[in-house]
Amino acid sequence: MIVGLDVGGTNIDAVIIEKGNIIDTIKRPVNHEHLFESIWTALEELFSRHDKENIERINLSTTVSTNAIVENKTSPVGMIIQNGPGLPNDYLACGDENVFISGYVDHRGKLVKDLDQKEIDKAIELFKERNIDSCAVVTKFCTRNFSHELKIKELLEKHFSSITMGHNLSGKLNFPRRVFTSYLNAAIYHTFKNFSNDIKKSMEREGIGAPLYILKADGGTTSLSAAQERPVETILSGPAASFMGINALLHTDKDALLLDIGGTTTDIFFLADGLPLFEPLGIEIGSYKTLVRALYSHSIGLGGDSSIEITNGRLKIGPNREGPPYALGGPKATPTDALIALDKMKIGNREKAIEAMKLLSKELNLSIKDTAQKILDTMGDMIKNEVDRLLAQINSKPVYTVKELLYGKKIKPQLINMIGGPAKFMQPILEKKFNLPCYFPKHYHVANAIGAALAKITTDITLIADTSQGILSVPEMGVYEKINRNYGLDSARQRAIEILIERAVSLGAAKDEIETEIIEESVFNMVRGFFTSGKNIRIKAQIKPGLIGEVKGDKND
């Protein structure tokens, strides 16, 4: 038995899946003020109907980290930032105290200028004075050499309970994002730790021994203890849950467009040959651009409850939701009202829906029926235009080799898979607009919980082997080791996979279910003078994205 739970804006959904069958589901309203209690109440109710002994794992997609950031309920953070030469540093000041220190490591990880310990001592004093208990330490090019971050951490350790180091969060290069990601991690550390402790206590009390995992924005999970160290990875897992849900319910190995058409928004995702597309660097939350690995997703303010206006004789749908549909007592006409008026959706007060259409129809000079149709049609156009724009953007992303520029993969969806309340009714319209087959599943109302349930542990690593310096490093795992001058690509690949497996196991994966893959590799001859002085090998490896199983027979055409 696998349990999946997803916290949405209004509801908590949970499911139990056994041998590919959805055997139970539950939907309960969420109280964001008491998130943990809401979650646990839903789980308890679900568990009460089954034998707890049979639970193999519990996967949670929560909003605890996201809400803390969005609602500004974070702990004060002391930042220690080593900026080195480059851009000015004032825009990096994201902490409650920001101490910029001297010292520098260059792009190859060479130590250019050492730390000044007095500066660190001063920072410690300052943070203590301000009662700061969470710190983050980030140095430029720490992904290439993190010795300064380690040294600073050692100095801080005695004084503060939480210290985030930049190199642990991502192997990607982008110093400002690393600074912001580290800040957020430190800022929500205590919030997430409390949440995690509550869960552990409740599970103990209920005698549930199954492992519990937390869903991340990349559509994979991580163990509760790893999430406690890096809570920032658990932000914005909602869209990932719906993406995984669509894939669990409707499998494909083609290029595809995935849509989650909800009440307020429509989320847009893509598959390339059936595999997820990721954000090139990381997800954005509020005004922070981060290095948190995330599925590519784009949200537009268009859904069943979007308010409709007419400006200059033209229909305008969204981006705001001003309440429920008119037929359900809301203030304005919505696409849902159009569906109710057309008698496609049988909820609410149809008379009211027709009344809403009538008002619009006068301004548009159309019949009531045509007005309702036009609303749905416009929605289809809006989705189509946005998808076209996104595809153009994705297909022109920067490439760096002649081969990629000439022959690189371009995404061209062959089908549309979608979920969400209005999805069923949008099917014929979208099929026509996109000229593509369009599918939606039966269990779409709990798709997110299903997606969370079937997510597996994911992680990635970045390896650099520089044979002229004789150093191999994997920042995410704190690996910085010696290699000899003849170290080659094969050894580097092998080492990358070894370290990746080690990391996956540390995140709670069972060794025999780990599937690894190398997603990028390059080898550069390093030429100094007119001679080869070594090799610069760069490898990215990841756990293959995917699901731990599928759910059976769930397709509506």
């Binding site: 900026n83 030469p85 480059g86 851009l87 000015p88 540093n89 004032d90 825009y91 990096l92 000041a93 994201c94 520098y104 260059d106 792009h107 190859r108 250019v112 200028k113 430029k140 090019f141 990607k172 290069l173 982008n174 110093f175 400002p176 994002r177 912001f180 660097l281 005004s287 922070y288 651009k289 022109s396 920067p398 490439v399 760096y400 080799t401 002649v402 081969k403 520029l405 000439l406 390059s522 550069f524 001859n525 390093m526 030429v527 003078g529 007119f530 001679f531 080869t532 610069n536």
Partner: protein
């Protein structure tokens, strides 16, 4: 709330390091060349700065190349895919500016182009195609009267660009470089002042080895900027070679990342295009970052090489004195250009220019004579008679864009009348109708 960094000028970047292309495995123009520049650009988070946009290169066409070059025997046998992409990268950057998508653009592409002359038998100075010229001439198809100033800040004389715009008054070419007596390609002296229709519009500033920030900025303030003020170009292009840097392995100058950034700040070009520069670890990451920030109007004062030492790089006073005198002389010549031209063309119908050209990368020797007709109505039809030690003997005719009907007819007549008996290849470049013939 965090403070967001924002570009004052919208800047387009075509960053194409061609990680799978090299001239040969240990050649300086190699896969690794922009690797550390990429690392620096990525680590600084340039792609997240509001107002900076990244573009992939376009791919230049054969026709784009033929507007500028006579490739012998033809375009396809001289160019690799990388050359089409490098030129296409420059075109894409310029288009972004001309379309108004961005205020400025920087093409960080390779291979470079400024040593590629009109006739192309092979690779010289790591260049086969003059990417600036291919870019400009493509844009000129829609903007015929575009006045362009190219300021070449590569340490080597931009002899290819000089050759292509030798007789074109609509393109002012200014090159500062290490004195040709001490460095490849051995040209770029004051008396190389342009062809009969553009005399004075090709300006060389040969600088002594050891020139530093002070010298470069002096030349900029006292020669380049005053001349640009008078010339009033529509577009300023920095041919941004980066080998004047104090760490460059092939040259002997003392310029810095701060210096390059200041230069671009003051020059305020619409376009910059990467040319040479082979100190790939110690210079390029910092110079490129400096140029990007300066062009975008972002504070670049913190961009410094790790081993930067202002005192060590201070320019000796004798060099300063020499540069002052040189600058004065060059500016005087510019002011006197009309009179100097009159002396040169007086009583002549044609002016000839004979040269020997060495292709260092491919080891080819070429002997050529260019003939410029002096025409009262246009810049005049001109021809090149050229032989290479690889066995070619070609005759190439160019009808310039502003050609009068006489020159146009004369160009076609020359093409028809020249017999294949003497030549392996004969070419006609008709810029009026944008067509190219060969036989």
């Amino acid at each position: 709330m965090i403070k967001m960094i924002k570009a004052k000028n919208k800047l387009g970047l075509v960053f194409f390091p061609a990680f799978d292309w090299a001239i040969s495995s240990t050649h300086p123009e190699r896969e690794e060349r922009l690797l550390y520049t990429q690392d620096q650009i990525f680590e600084e988070g340039i792609e997240d700065i509001e107002g900076i946009y990244f573009y992939n290169p376009a791919i230049a066409t054969e026709k784009d190349i033929q507007r500028v070059h006579f490739c012998v025997p033809d375009v396809k046998s001289r160019l690799t895919k990388s050359h089409f992409i490098s030129a296409g990268g420059a075109i894409k950057a310029f288009e972004a500016v001309m379309d108004g998508d961005v205020d400025k653009a920087f093409a960080l592409v390779r291979p470079p182009g400024h040593h590629a002359q009109r006739v192309v038998y092979g690779d010289r100075g790591f260049c086969i195609v003059n990417i600036e010229a291919v870019m400009i001439e493509r844009i000129r198809q829609q903007n015929k009267d575009l006045r362009v100033a190219i300021v070449d800040t590569d340490c080597h004389h931009g002899d290819g660009t000089q050759d292509i715009y030798w007789n074109d008054k609509n393109t002012l070419f200014i090159s500062f470089h290490q004195d040709g007596r001490t460095l490849y390609p051995g040209t770029g002296f004051l008396d190389e002042f342009g062809g009969p229709s553009a005399y004075g519009y090709n300006i060389n500033i040969p600088l002594p080895p050891g020139t530093g920030e002070e010298g470069f900025l002096y030349v900029l303030d006292n020669v380049v900027l005053p001349i640009l003020d008078e010339y009033k170009p529509d577009i300023i292009i920095n041919s941004a070679g980066q080998d004047n840097h104090y760490t460059d392995p092939l040259t002997n100058m003392n310029f810095t990342a701060q210096g390059y950034a200041k230069l671009n700040d003051k020059l305020n070009p619409h376009m910059a295009i990467l040319e040479g520069g082979y100190s790939i670890e110690g210079a390029l990451p910092y110079i490129n970052l400096g140029i990007i920030l300066a062009m975008a109007g972002i504070d670049y004062s913190h961009v410094k090489e790790p081993d930067y030492d202002k005192d060590k790089l201070k320019q000796p006073s004798d060099i300063t004195e020499y540069i002052k005198k040189l600058s004065h002389m060059i500016y005087k010549r510019w002011q006197n250009r009309e009179k100097l031209r009159a002396d040169i063309v007086k009583g002549k119908d044609n002016i000839q220019r004979a040269r020997q050209i060495y292709y260092d990368t491919d080891g080819i020797l070429e002997n050529q004579t260019q003939n410029f007709k002096i025409c009262k109505k246009c810049s005049g039809v001109n021809t090149i008679d050229s032989q290479s030690d690889t066995g070619y003997h070609i005759f190439a005719i160019t009808i310039p864009m502003d050609a009068c009907s006489d020159c146009l007819d004369q160009g076609y007549k020359l093409y028809q009348d020249t017999s294949k008996f003497h030549y392996t290849n004969i070419y006609l470049q008709d810029r009026v109708n944008d067509v190219y013939y060969s036989k």
